[in-house]
Amino acid sequence: MILSLDQRLHGQGRAEVRILSKPGLAFWLSVGRFARCLGFASVLCLIMGGCRSQNSRTIAVIPGTTATEFWEAAHGGAEAAGRNVGFRIYWNAPTREDDVERQIGLVERVIDSDYAGLVVAPTNYLALVGSVRQALSRHIPTVVIRSSLPIPPGQGLSYILNDDQETGRLAATRIGTLLSGKGQVAVLGLDPSGPRSVLRARAIEAELTKSFPRVSVIERRSGSSYTAEVQEIAQEILMDNPALDAIVTLDVTATEGTWAALTALGKGKRVKLIGCEQEVDLMAGIRHGDIDSVIVENTYEMGFRAIQSIAARLRGESVPDQIELKPVLVTKANIDSDEVQKMLSVNWRVSH
């Protein structure tokens, strides 16, 4: 008898479970409430996640600066490609071409904000290395456009560059042709902080030596981010070298400053000006004969292909490590061609 009672009592563990649910009606109701709260919190998290996922469908493009029209074609290319592949584009850059600190800040913000990809046009050869490596370590597909960094491509990084050697060759060929194979040339706008201008200058000299040996480079001068400062340098060159036949400028500011110096000294017709890199103002100079030509970079294609490359990488497809885009020599003769006008467009909202 006792044993049977014990057995029944011994089974109270099971009974306990069963009974607990009985007085625990309130308990289960509270559990239900908790579950509902959890569900509501989950919905909130989903909504917030949805907000956050806006960035996950956005590719950030950080050009050198947004203060000039140079990068607007790249903006247009990026927007057009973004629409094609279903990504939004975040576009911002420093207010100065040489504000490396601000560009690093923007890249770091992109890294911290869960963007789908990063496109950056570094303003400095070395300063962006750490930030780009950090982006790669966070598995953010990255495309460096226009000029390279000392980081090998692969593992999420690819390059879409301007062919600076070709830029130099085009400039040298134009000079040689204009000067009929004989004359004196100055190169203005060298920037020791990056390889781009050095590559161009070397390519100019190499091509001149090869194809126009009687054309000599008599001045090689660094530039500045400020037009007026370059104007002074150009005036100094012009005054020191009265027999100068042509000036090749390696960036927009150098071209604008030299143009202003030629205007100020009244040497616009005597000294030929061949510029590198485009700006809408400079095209007016070509149209009116103050500037002979400008070698235009295909920044539209840089922006377009960079977004395509990131989208392909996100789809798991392989992308080329490096693409070099050919620049185009723009003269009065071809400035109205569709190809050149597309490269010069600043309408980033219109697809091409």
Binding site: I2, Q12, T66, A67, T95, E101, Q231, V280, D290
Partner: protein
């Protein structure tokens, strides 16, 4: 049909959610939208409601000034829900080759040239145009209209911008020439709401009498009627369109004079650092160049080698301007100043980035007169004569001060908390006029934007510690309450189940045994003498025994209660067993009572019941003593009687129909306790050693002793 009920429930929930969403939507649309209204507070020096994105903003003679060449610097205020409104302002450009104007319907702002979403109307002195366009982290210029009589720097214009629906129109009025220029645009997918803002690109600017108020379609119609409305930016966004619309003026960038008798531009000038070594015995004029890094309270310029103060005579220069300065060197211990100066504005450049140095480097004087960035911990802050803010800072062993004059100090002062780590940008000076010889150097800040809070004060200040302790206390109280609540639920369930079992036993087994015993007694004492009495007597004895067992079980089940100590429970359970006899029962306890699990306590009670039953029924004891000892995680139960004892080794077992001692041993084994029975002619001693599980002990001991009192109200509540 359960699934039907579930579906009903789901539909009900969905309906409620839909209803809530509908109410929320209606409430959102019916809520009162803020009326666009802003009245200039610059005249009184108030700028706190404005948020700066780049630039160097300060109050200046009743106006707000961006004294910087930064491209695309913005100052924003208002509500993102302002819709149709008109904004008016008096506007003055502080330099050439740039533009300045007003932003409407702005949102999504950040630092950057066109880093906002909205519409901008500006006066551009670079090509003498009034422009209007759409910014959306990129610039789409809709119209650039040439301004008659050109746009001049340092000349006031009255600017009015109206945004109604998807049309934005603006007029610029020159009070001197009485000329008015109008621009207008229409965008299909337009930004319909947003804040107002002031913006300049490269030129800097001065704004005053800024006002915003609601506008109606009639307001904008009156303006649009006098202008051509552009629907698309496409023409302006192509090279052909842009260059065909604007008159060609060639390239005429060059130095600009800021004084009527300025000297010629000198290309070769000495570095600024060399001025320290100029003799002041035979002072002679020198010409130097430098970029403006500070305009007030003293004008400072710097180049890559160093910086100097410049006597400016109120010249209108701004941060970032490149100056050529001719003056006499005044080399003082606190730094170099150029006096009797003639300034020549060479060109406008953006503000130079500061050098990042430590306070230890700054005290050496190597960065005197230069723009630097230094981190320091804020020790104290104060206002001086309502004109400036002085911050006392410490970095390592070096103390220094930062001085901000005029520039929107109201914005930052209240936000700065002592012990915050600040990152400051300013001009490093050793001039005693600023250091008062209390610190080695001082930083002259350009604007409140030069103060960055790198880290707030440490969290472990007194207030936070008190708050933390209070929060912890509340958490402990909540935890204890939850613990008691859970215990209550658990024990309620156990008690209820046990009560139910007790009722079941009482109503079934105990009643049955009573009936059997009654029948057997009737049979034994009845009129039939042929019935063999021995088996019946035996059956009667067993029925009575079983009935007593049943009652003991009932008593044990009903007695188990969480409030009571084991001592009390033992007394309650054992007392009825000796109630009808003359046995003297005593129950004592020693040590700090501790609780066992409900199961273990039940087993202890049943073992004690069995021992007492044996003592009263078989040993004919007259005294039974029950001792409880709590000692070192052990519960020792000792039951002693003075009965006649029995031979433990020969005591009948379960195979002979006696389950008492066997049951006691099994119960002891079930809770890993040791049971020892010692018996002699003088009595029997039952000893039970029960280990108390440590888990329960530790959990209980986690709570401070005072928290145990918190259970009292709960117990009272439960007892009701």
């Amino acid at each position: 049909m359960k699934w039907l009920a579930q579906i009903d429930r789901w539909f009900g929930t969905l309906f409620c959610l839909a209803l809530l969403a509908a109410i929320a939507t209606i409430a959102y649309w019916l809520r009162s939208r803020p009326e666009p209204h802003y009245s200039d507070s610059f005249a009184s020096g108030g700028t706190a409601e404005w948020h700066a994105y780049g630039g160097s903003w300060d109050s200046f003679e009743g106006a707000i000034r961006n004294n910087s060449d930064e491209r695309g610097a913005k100052l924003i205020t208002g509500s993102s829900e302002w819709s149709d409104y008109e904004i008016e302002a008096e506007l003055l450009l502080l330099g050439p080759n740039g533009d300045a104007g007003v932003i409407v319907r702005s949102s999504d702002e950040e630092e950057g040239v066109d880093a906002y979403s909205g519409y901008y109307v500006g006066l551009r002195d670079r090509n003498n145009t009034m422009v209007i366009g759409r910014a959306d982290h990129g610039w789409l210029e809709y119209q650039a209209v040439s301004v008659k009589d050109s746009i001049h720097a340092f000349h006031w214009y009255h600017l009015k911008v109206i945004a109604v629906g998807c049309v934005v129109a603006a007029s610029a009025f020159d009070p001197e020439t009485r000329q008015e220029t109008i621009v207008a645009m229409r965008e299909n997918d337009c930004a319909r709401t947003g804040r107002i803002g002031l913006r300049s690109y490269s030129s800097g600017g001065l704004w005053k009498n800024v006002r915003a108020h609601p506008a109606s379609p009639a307001d904008i119609s009156a303006l649009v009627a006098r202008a051509q409305v552009t629907d698309s930016p496409e023409r302006m966004q192509t090279e052909t369109g842009f260059n065909s619309l604007l008159p060609y003026s060639g390239k005429g960038v060059g130095p600009t004079d800021s004084s009527s008798n300025s000297p010629a531009m000198d290309i070769h000038t000495p570095p600024l650092s060399s001025l320290r070594f100029v003799s002041d015995i035979h002072p002679f004029p020198v010409t130097v160049r430098g970029s403006v890094i500070l305009t007030a309270p003293v004008l400072y310029i710097e180049d890559s080698s160093g910086g100097v103060a410049v006597e400016s005579h109120g010249s209108a220069v701004k941060i970032g301007d490149e100056l050529q300065v001719t003056g006499v060197v005044d080399a003082r211990p606190g730094g170099v100043m150029l006096r009797n100066t003639i300034l020549r504005l060479l060109w406008s450049r953006g503000p130079a980035p500061p050098l990042s140095v430590t306070a230890s480097q700054a005290v050496t004087g190597a960065f005197d007169g230069m723009l630097v960035e230094i981190e320091g911990r804020l020790m104290a802050k104060r206002r001086v004569q309502g004109q400036s803010v002085v911050l006392d800072l410490q970095s390592g062993h070096q103390a220094f001060r930062a001085i901000l004059e005029g520039a929107r100090q109201d914005l930052m002062f209240d936000r700065l908390r002592p012990n915050s780590l600040l990152r400051l940008r300013g001009v490093c000076v050793a001039d005693p006029a600023f250091t008062e010889n209390l610190t080695s150097f001082a930083l002259l800040l350009r604007s409140s934007e030069d103060i960055g809070i790198a880290a707030g004060p440490p969290w472990w200040d007194t207030r936070h510690l008190v708050e933390g302790a209070f929060a912890l206390m509340i958490l402990v109280v909540v935890a204890v309450f939850v613990y008691f609540r859970a215990e209550h639920w658990k024990m309620s369930a156990v008690v209820e189940e046990r009560s139910r079992m007790a009722r079941e036993i009482h109503d079934t087994l105990a009643q049955s045994f009573a009936g059997i015993a009654l029948q057997l007694e009737s049979a034994l004492h009845g009129p039939r003498p042929d019935i063999e009495s021995a088996p019946v007597t035996m059956a009667l004895s067993m029925a009575r025994q079983s009935r007593r067992e049943a009652h003991r079980s009932i008593a044990a089940l009903r007695t188990l209660h969480t409030d009571q100590t084991l001592e009390n429970m033992l007394y309650k359970v054992l007392r009825p067993q000796v109630a009808e006899s003359h046995v003297e029962l005593s129950v004592t306890s020693k040590g700090t009572p501790e609780r066992l699990s409900g199961e273990a306590e039940s087993q202890v009670l049943r073992i004690a019941q069995e021992a007492v039953a044996n003592a009263t029924q078989h040993a004919l004891a007259t005294r039974i003593a029950v001792h409880l000892v709590f000692d070192n995680r052990m519960l020792i139960l000792e039951i002693e009687d003075d009965g006649r004892g029995f031979e433990v080794s020969t005591a009948p077992g379960s195979e002979e129909g006696h389950f008492g001692i066997t049951g006691m041993r099994e119960r002891a084994a079930s809770m890993k306790a040791d049971l020892t029975i010692q018996s002699s002619r003088d009595g029997t001693r039952v000893l039970l050693d029960v280990p108390i599980p440590s888990r329960r002990m530790q959990l209980w001991k986690l709570a401070p002793p005072w928290t145990r009192r918190l259970g009292q109200p709960l117990r009272s509540w439960r007892s009701h």
